[in-house]
Every structure is written in C-alpha cells, then in structure tokens.
C-alpha cells in the first residue's frame, strides 16, 4: 500500500491533520469502544488488560513501561517491530496473524475504512506531548460497578492457584488464545470487575455466568491475585 506510506511520509513532513489520512476520527472514537474493555487512551490513560495507547505511533512494540507483554509480543518486539500506520493496520486487521501467541483476544477489524477510522482516532493521541488534545479521559474500561470494599479484598494467590484449575480446562495459562480468550496477567481490578459482571448476569455467557455464579468475593479476589501474578 504505497499510497499510505506516501501519506504518512507527507504527514510527518508537513504535520497535516489526521483527517487527511483518510480516516474519520469521530467514527474511530465510536469503534474504539470495542477496544476500551482492555485499552485506555488519552489523558490519564493507564495500562489495563492491554497497554495504554498514548503515543502508540512510532513506538517500538512492547515498550509501554511496566506492562507485562505476552511472550509472543515480546518476541515480535525483540525482532524489531515498531508501531507504524502500516504495522498497526496489519495488527488490528487480525492481531494473531501479525503476532502469533499475542494475548490480545480480538477478532480484528476486517474493513479497511474502519481500520483507517480507528487509526485516525488513535493518531490524535500520538503527536508530540504538547499536541495531545486536552480530551477527557477515555470512557472507563470497565462495564460494571463493583463496591469499593469488594475491590479492596486482598486475594490469596495460593487459593487462587487451586481455583484456577477450573479456569485452565479452557483458558490456557500460557495466555495462548484461540476461540477462548486469555485471562493471564490481567490487572486484578479488571479481573474482579469482569467476574462480578458475569456473576450478576450483566455479562452474557452461560458458562462464565455459571462458573462465576458460585465464586465468593474472596474466591474472585484469589483468582484475580493469581492470574495477575503468574509468569
């Protein structure tokens, strides 16, 4: 796709606004809701289930400070992968095709226009720091409210390791993902929120509702502590 490379080159040289890349940033913001369960972008964005995406353009892969990447992504990073328009476009079309064994459990955007729109949106958060718009923080990554005292429970990772046997009949501890998403190395808070969402029937999946349905608050915290910590 020579034309896109050409545009990027032009963009870098002339500082053209993102609208000229060919994507609709507004629609990209809507599409980003499919990503925001795991990724934050914008002011105050933090690493969640996935790394934050501020300044993702031209960032070497695997370089978000403090985020624990999958072995697959780390391997790609060691191989010199840098996030450019082209590589991001490939990645979000089908994450596992570009980076085998990534933990990113996402089917991908098949439509080129949607990828252009999403990248136009993300591009807004990747200029030099001074140019980052004073946007409100991205919508919270979580879809369910959990009482602070429940979130505050410190889980016992040893109990979590035992309980995890119920998870690893389907979810691979290595983080490999094919048909069943990875739950390895999720931040504990996200894990807790998601499990309570299943337990209370807010998230719809019959197996997960059943499995979460009989977990106590302490057991959910234990699982969260274990899955956050495993190597």
């Amino acid at each position: 796709m020579w034309w896109r490379l050409f545009f990027i080159a032009l963009l870098g040289a002339a500082g053209t606004s993102q609208a000229e890349v060919g994507g609709d940033a507004e629609n990209g913001q809507t599409l980003f809701r499919q990503c925001s369960g795991c990724h934050e972008v914008g002011q105050g964005a933090r690493d969640r289930i996935g790394p934050h995406l501020n300044n993702i353009f031209d960032r070497p892969a695997g370089a978000a400070d403090g985020y624990r990447y999958s072995a697959g992504l780390q391997r790609a990073a060691d191989g010199g992968l840098v996030w450019t328009y082209e590589t991001l476009d490939d990645f979000i079309e089908n994450p596992r095709r570009l980076v085998s064994n990534t933990r990113m459990s996402f089917h991908g955007f098949e439509v080129q226009q949607e990828r252009d729109d999403l990248l136009a949106y993300l591009r807004q958060f990747s200029a030099s720091p001074g140019n980052i718009p004073e946007a409100a923080p991205t919508a919270a990554a979580v879809d369910h409210a959990v009482a602070p005292e429940v979130l505050a429970i410190i889980g016992d990772p040893a109990y979590g390791e035992y309980l995890s046997g119920e998870c690893t009949s389907c979810h691979q501890a290595s983080g490999a993902t094919d048909g069943i998403p990875s739950i390895t190395n999720w931040p504990a808070d996200d894990f807790v929120v998601v499990m309570h969402a299943y337990k209370e029937g807010v998230r719809a999946h019959p197996v997960m509702q059943m499995m979460a349905g009989r977990l106590s608050n302490e057991e959910i915290a234990a699982l969260a502590a274990y899955f956050e910590s495993i190597e």
């Binding site: 390791e161 309980l163 119920e166 389907c170 979810h171 501890a173 094919d178 048909g179 069943i180 059943m210």
Partner: protein, 420 residues
C-alpha cells in the same frame, strides 16, 4: 472450608510416613503411581508433579506412546479435524515435569504391599495409586458382538485406530448404503457422543453419499441434548436419519458381523457399516484391583478416593461418583481435586475444598455448535450438581458459530492442561 479434613489428611500423612511405609524408598520421597494417561490421569500426574515441585515422585503408566483423544474424534469423522491434530505425546510431562512415564500395561495391584504390576514384569511401589483407566466393554452386551469382531463392526469409542477404521468404512460405503449404530445403555462415556457422531457421519455422507441412510438402534428412551440434535438433524439432514428407540425394539438387538446384519426386534437389516457401541464398565485394572461394585468403582466425592481403599483414587469414566457425566472435562476437573488432596496427604500442603465443573460441546453441522454444562460440589454421599445450563433450540447462527469456535479453544485449553 475443610480445616477438619486438612488436619485429618495431614496426620494421616505423618502416620503413613512413620508407621506404615512398607517400601524401601530409593529417594525417600512419597510415591504416586498414576495408571492411565488420559484426561484424568495425565492431568493428575501433571498437577501433582507441578505443584509438589519435586517433593513427590510421580510415575505415569500408559500403554500408548501417542495419545489420541476420544473427545473431538467425531470431528475427524465429519472431516473437521485430521487425526494428527488429535494425537499428543507424553514428552513434555517427562521432560518438563519430571514425571516417570512408563509405556506399559498395568495388570495387577497388590493393595497390601501397595505395588502395581506391569505386563512387562516390573513392579511399582506406591503410597497413593490413582487409577484413571477409562472404559472397557461389558462382555456379551450386544448379542453376536465381541472384541474379535471389532474390525468388522468397530466401536470407535476409544480414540485412534478404531476411529480411523470407522472413517474408512464410512468412505467405502456404496452409494445409497446404510450406516447403522447400536447405541449404548446408560451410563456410558460422553453422553452426547453417539449423537454428535451421527451428526458428523451425516455431514460426511451428505457430501460424498447423499442417498445413504443412517439407522440407530437405541436402548434409551431419551438422550443428552436430544431436542438440539433432533432439531439439527431435521434442519441439516432431513430424511437421512432413523432412530429406533426401546418402544420399537431398540434394546432388542442382534448383530452378525460375518453377514453384516443388524436385527432389531427380530427384523433383519442388511447394513454396510455397523458401529456397535456396547454397554461399558470401568477399565479392567479397576476390577483387578478389587475396588469395583457392579461395573464401576465407587469413590468419595471429597477427594476421589475409592470407597474400598483409602490409598487408591479413581478418576473419570471408571468412577461411580454421582451426578457428573463421564467426560474428558469431568475427568480433568476431578483430577485437580484429587491432585490437591493427594499432595496434601503426602506432603502436608493445604487441601482446599473440592469443586467440580463440566462442559460438553457438540458439533451438529458446519459452525453449528451446542453445549451443556454444570457445576458440582462434594457431599457426604456423592458429587452433587449445583447449577447448569444447556444451549437452546432456535439459537442464532452467530451464537452457534461462536459456540463452535469456543469448543475449538476448549480443546487447545484442555490438552494444554493435560499434557503441559
């Protein structure tokens, strides 16, 4: 919580170590011998080795060098998987988990001396023995059929060569020929298995032999996921499948492997393939060990220990445990409870309360997957069901496709959990 249980197990371990210890232990470590390297045995061996970090000496006895899973073997019959993708080696369990993998048959158990005898002649001492031998067939269950006729009329209910044989026979059927199945009585391995198989055989025949017929002789009035299968058969394979239930003689069956006939209630049918799935019982070694009652080995739900010998545990299909179906998922779930309890008994590690789960996916046609599942707990009496769900008839194509994709992910997950 089970603090009483934990205390009890801890003191039992001390007693066993100080007083009983009949073996001369080369390394001074407690020994666990696991017989059977399937979903129960491989999982138990792996978890005990992994979690004890070398404190327990684990030996796994399994005759085959490559294990072909019985689960997903129907997808091979339907052309959705190749046989290679169902085969797994024990190399990782040996190399990365330090498990002593012995490819041999266990042929004897001396419960007083606590040794297992192998067909090759050696003897393995144990502190705890875990039997996960799967199923064998009840002699004389189907009149006219015995193991000597399994080439003419395959059961294909243990993964591997029998599955390949059945597929070859299906592909060699004459146009418009008849595939017959003699379905098993309860209880048996994988309750939806025979009916998923019918679906997968129908899928293959629809492609290569669309005028072929499928005839099922079934001794059961009802079967697992019946509404879902019958809906799917009607939608995808209309007019191809006939099932004769017990009301019409489905339990009164005689086969003649030489003549290739299947008689149902005296009515003789000439068939081209006859898939005989006889009544089942616990794998023979459970019977040899003297821990069976009827066809199966009764166990205590809390730790899967035999009701007849506290040093023997029984997992998976061979166990009479209560409400769980006989499935690879169930065996894998029971194995983790057992591994935790055995480790606690032998090393004093924490024993957490038993909890079990099962989910069974079935494929009806391309991208048309369904599932059934439940959670279970240990009671004094048995493994008792807590909660469950089943796919609904009339679900959207998208949901069925997602269910199938999920089953593919589950396969990768459970074999990673079994074999490392």
């Amino acid at each position: 919580m089970t603090f009483n249980r934990r205390t009890f197990l801890g003191s039992a371990a001390v007693t066993a170590g100080l007083l009983a210890a009949p073996m001369v232990r080369a390394q001074g470590k407690p020994r666990v011998v696991v017989v059977g390297g399937g979903a129960g045995g491989a999982t138990a061996a792996r978890y005990i080795a992994k979690d004890s970090q070398g404190a327990i000496d684990v030996t796994l006895v399994e005759p085959t060098r490559t294990y072909y899973t019985c689960f997903f073997s129907n997808l091979y019959l339907g052309g959705f998987r190749d046989m290679q993708s169902l085969g797994h080696s024990y190399g990782t369990l040996a190399a990365e988990y330090g498990i002593n993998v012995v490819h041999d048959w266990a042929v004897g158990v001396d419960r007083d001396a606590r040794t297992v005898t192998l067909a090759g002649g050696s003897s393995l001492p144990y502190d705890r023995l875990i039997l996960s031998p799967g199923i064998d067939f009840v002699d004389g269950a189907v009149e006219g059929w015995d193991l000597s006729s399994q080439n003419a009329m395959p059961h294909a209910y243990k993964g591997g060569s029998q599955t390949e044989l059945l597929k070859a026979q299906i592909m060699a059927m004459p146009q418009g020929g008849t595939y017959a199945m003699v379905a098993p009585p309860n209880p048996y391995r994988c309750p939806p298995g025979p009916y998923e198989r019918i679906s997968m055989v129908a899928h293959t025949l629809k492609e290569v032999n669309p005028t072929a017929k499928i005839l099922i002789a079934d001794p059961k009035e009802k079967f697992s996921k019946q509404g879902l299968f019958e809906e799917g058969w009607n939608d995808h394979y209309a007019g191809m499948i006939e099932r004769v239930g017990p009301d019409f003689g489905g339990a009164d069956v005689v086969v003649d492997p030489a003549a290739m006939t299947l008689s149902i209630d005296g009515d003789v049918n000439n068939v081209d393939v006859c898939n005989v799935i006889p009544a089942m019982k616990a794998g023979r070694i459970a019977e040899i060990a003297g821990i069976t009652e009827g066809s199966w080995a009764p166990v205590n739900a809390v730790d899967m220990s035999s009701k007849m010998d506290e040093n023997i545990h029984v997992l998976g299909d061979a166990a009479a445990q209560g409400d769980m179906p006989k499935s690879g998922f169930s065996a894998n779930s029971q194995a983790k409870v057992c591994a935790n309890a055995v480790r606690g008994a032998l090393t004093g590690s924490t024993v957490f309360p038993a909890r079990f789960a099962n989910t069974c996916w079935s494929l009806i046609d391309t991208e048309d997957g369904v599932k059934v599942g439940a959670t279970y707990e240990a009671t004094e009496e048995k493994i008792a069901k807590v909660d469950g769900f089943v796919s609904q008839t009339g679900e959207s194509d998208e949901l069925r496709a997602a269910t199938y994709q999920e089953s593919v992910g589950w396969y990768d997950g459970i074999v990673a959990d079994m074999f490392g």
